[in-house]
């Protein structure tokens, strides 16, 4: 289980393995690093991988919505993966999936 962010670029996809705790305090540096990589590499898909995330609150929602808007300006899609049932509940509650370039996948 990792405590830090790991980003892997594969062709036109950027996959971010998010850290164990994703609260307001933890989200700030992640946002900065992710945005830098997004604009450097201009992927067509950003995969946010939550499989290592043990805790998240609405700061994670702000992270998703913010990256979705950055991706929209690049014409990229955002895919959320590895969400637990509770995390899905939070994502649905927030309406983040109404953002047109955001979707959830199980893989």
């Amino acid at each position: 289980m990792q405590t830090t962010l790991k980003i892997v670029a594969n062709e036109d996809k950027l996959r971010a393995y998010l850290p164990r705790e994703l609260d307001h305090h933890a989200a700030r540096p992640i946002r900065e690093v992710l945005d830098r990589r997004l604009f450097e590499e201009k992927p067509t898909v950003l995969i946010l991988d939550f499989s290592g995330v043990e805790f998240m609150d609405s700061s994670a929602i702000a992270l998703i919505i913010g990256r979705a808007s950055a991706c929209e300006s690049l014409g990229a899609a955002v895919i959320l993966t590895g969400l637990s049932e509770h995390q899905k509940k939070l994502v649905r509650l927030s309406g983040a999936l109404r953002t047109k370039n955001v979707s959830i996948t199980e893989v």
Binding site: E21, D23, H24, H25, A26, A27, R28, R31, F55, M56, D57, S58, S59, I61, A62, I65, G66, E85, H86, L90, L93, S94, G95
Partner: protein, 147 residues
């Protein structure tokens, strides 16, 4: 008549590092009632939102001074009720009704999405917010655990 079976009070400096500290302490304290994973997630998430509000909004422009505190009081009842009160003595909220609206935030849009009160309300059985401008804010969260 419900009876208190355990109670604790915490006072922490309103800084980001303490968001995870609060969650860890409250999780350990509630463990006595054997909450389900789901219930514990709900409590941790709701508490994190309230504590983050104190860190982000209660004491602006003071950069975490020594006396910028978050006050937390947790009670466990024999009715399997968990009550968590999270208070600050910060700037307070001018219009609580407005602040409770989804998507409303005075924070930086890139890091806050205005979902805090919605999450607290959705993940608990009751939420009350009391606030006085210049005096501070108190959020009371109640969660009733399944038998």
């Amino acid at each position: 008549m419900k009876r208190i079976i355990n109670e604790m009070k915490l006072r922490l400096i309103a800084r980001g590092e303490n968001e995870s500290v609060c969650r860890a302490i409250i999780s350990a304290f509630v463990a006595e009632l054997n909450p389900t994973v789901e219930e514990l997630c709900d409590i941790r998430c709701a508490v994190s939102e309230a504590v983050t509000n104190c860190v982000v909004h209660a004491y602006p422009d003071r950069g975490g001074e020594r006396r910028d505190y978050i006050y937390i009081s947790v009670r466990l009842y024999d009715t399997r009720e968990v009550s968590v009160e999270i208070s600050d003595r910060g700037v307070g909220i001018e219009n609580v009704e407005l602040a409770r609206q989804p998507s409303y935030t005075t924070g930086e849009a890139s890091e806050r999405c205005g979902m805090g009160f919605l999450v607290m309300e959705s993940f608990t059985d009751a939420m009350t917010v009391k606030s006085k401008p210049g005096r501070g804010t108190t959020v009371l969260l109640k969660k009733i655990l399944k038998p």
